[in-house]
């Protein structure tokens, strides 16, 4: 039962990894940009939640009502103000600019919040659980996290394939030049995609803060988890990212079960195995 429990907890954590991955996958899909500071922005959202909760006394999950829009505006501004200037045929500028942002964010958070680790208290949600099988207890918080991941991905999927904004995302990604002469302002579409990505970043940040301790330097490993989930699942496939997150979570859980030192290593090895066997991921998008 210990193993079954570990695997089920791993699946639930996979939801959080899918949340890390969804925003990353979204902006890569629209503008071929990889935001190296993605994980650091998740941590920044966690700190933002920390500040908002401390100032207002709201429940962390309720604070999402404030944090998601704030984060989305920040994402729009980041894209419109800085990243749009770097987008072009050359991959180097956006990559290095977001790399610089990553260092600035980590050290900025260190200045503001010190290196002490923090956690957000979700009250009863944190401790309550129910018994699924003998020896397998499911906490409400991990379950909620997993459900949130499904809702977020379903939402992104809907926006991408059922709305005119999603149509614009796909058109700009397919052929930016022709999209422009159809009247789309690529820069605004990119900024909208980044705003959406930052909305997801905010949700991921709050769940990160509720689930475990965080400090200014945990961002890069969040980026890596998200990235691994994206590649395992297959580029451009949002539901694939959920499966990728789950595989990563389960691999880490199995690793930890063998030896605590193997938790992260097992996740990375699962990723490298997928890369070796199916370089396009388990569920690559067929078109494009």
């Amino acid at each position: 039962m210990e193993w079954v429990n570990a695997i089920i907890q791993g699946i639930l954590i996979g939801g959080l990894y899918a949340l890390f991955a969804a925003g990353l996958s979204l902006i890569f899909g629209v503008m071929r940009l990889v935001n190296i500071a993605h994980g650091d922005f998740i941590v920044a959202a966690a700190y933002l939640a920390y500040v908002v909760v401390a100032a207002t006394g709201l429940h962390p999950l309720v604070s999402l009502v404030i944090i998601v829009p704030l984060s989305a505006v920040a994402g729009y501004a980041l894209q419109a103000g800085i990243l749009n200037r770097t987008i072009g045929d050359d991959l180097l500028p956006p990559l290095l600019v977001t790399f610089g942002l990553s260092v600035i964010l980590q050290n900025g958070m260190l200045e503001l919040f010190t290196a002490d680790s923090r956690k957000l208290d979700a009250g009863l949600l944190d401790i309550q659980n129910f018994n699924l099988l003998p020896g397998v207890n499911i906490g409400y918080m991990p379950l909620l996290m997993f459900v949130a991941a499904i809702i977020v991905i379903a939402g992104l999927q809907y926006i991408f394939y059922r709305t005119s904004l999603g149509r614009a995302f796909r058109a700009v990604s397919d052929d930016g030049e022709i999209a422009q002469i159809m009247g789309l302002d690529n820069r605004k579409i990119f900024a909208a995609a980044m705003a959406l990505s930052f909305g997801v970043i905010a949700i991921a940040g709050v769940f990160l803060a509720v689930r475990a301790n965080f400090d200014p330097f945990v961002g890069p490993s969040r980026l890596i988890f998200g990235f691994e989930a994206v590649i395992i699942g297959g580029l451009g496939n949002l539901w694939g990212t959920l499966v990728g997150g789950i595989i990563l979570g389960v691999a880490q859980a199995i690793g930890a079960q063998i030896d605590p030192g193997w938790q992260l290593l097992a996740g990375h090895i699962a990723f490298l195995l997928v890369l070796a066997i199916k370089p396009r991921g388990l569920f690559p998008r067929i078109d494009g």
């Binding site: 005119s164 149509r167 796909r170 022709i178 422009q180 002469i181 159809m182 009247g183 302002d185 078109d287």
Partner: protein
Amino acid sequence: MSDTILSLTDIEAFYGDAQALHGVSLELAAGETLALIGSNGAGKTTLLKTICGLIERHIGAMLFDGANISGISPNKIPARGIALVPEGRRLFPSLSVEENLLLGGQVDRRGPWNLGAVYELFPVLRERQHQPSTSLSGGQQQMVAIGRALMANPKLLLLDELSLGLAPVIIKDIYALLPRIVAEGMSAILVEQDVTRALGFADRFICLQEGRVALEGEPKAFTREQISQAYFGT
């Protein structure tokens, strides 16, 4: 017919350091159809792209419908009433047929063209509306590309290499529909390798050679030899 819709004066355009157009001027009347002919690299596509704002480095005056369009962003072009059917069709592969058409109609200009009208013109597209645009035959894809441009209800339609890569029978069908498309006062510039077909359809023609206007006028006013000389520069 006498109102000028498009007026270009001494257009020069550059790709990097290479100059592709050397002082091209043209006037287009409302409702007029102009064939733009010339050999490969003569600057035909460049001229269309310049009109659409896609060539950043250009000089010369461009007036459309009485207003300056030189230097405006390409995404403002469809709202002014110019639509392009690009060379090679360039449909959006991850969009369905209908989504491709809707994207063309994004600018929301009033006019006769909407989804229903496009489907009436090309009934086969209605049957395929939910299919990915990549699953269509070349001719059907060209219909989507034309429909997508029409959805913007343009005053000026730019058609780049309609017949490229299509079977002769399909080219014939599409050309048979062109008069319906450019009806109701729409102007058109037609770039075409197939000179005979282009001249047969257009009111007037311009022959470009190495980025300059080599010959222009009504097709009937010139002999084949004169046109061919302008075309090849012999």
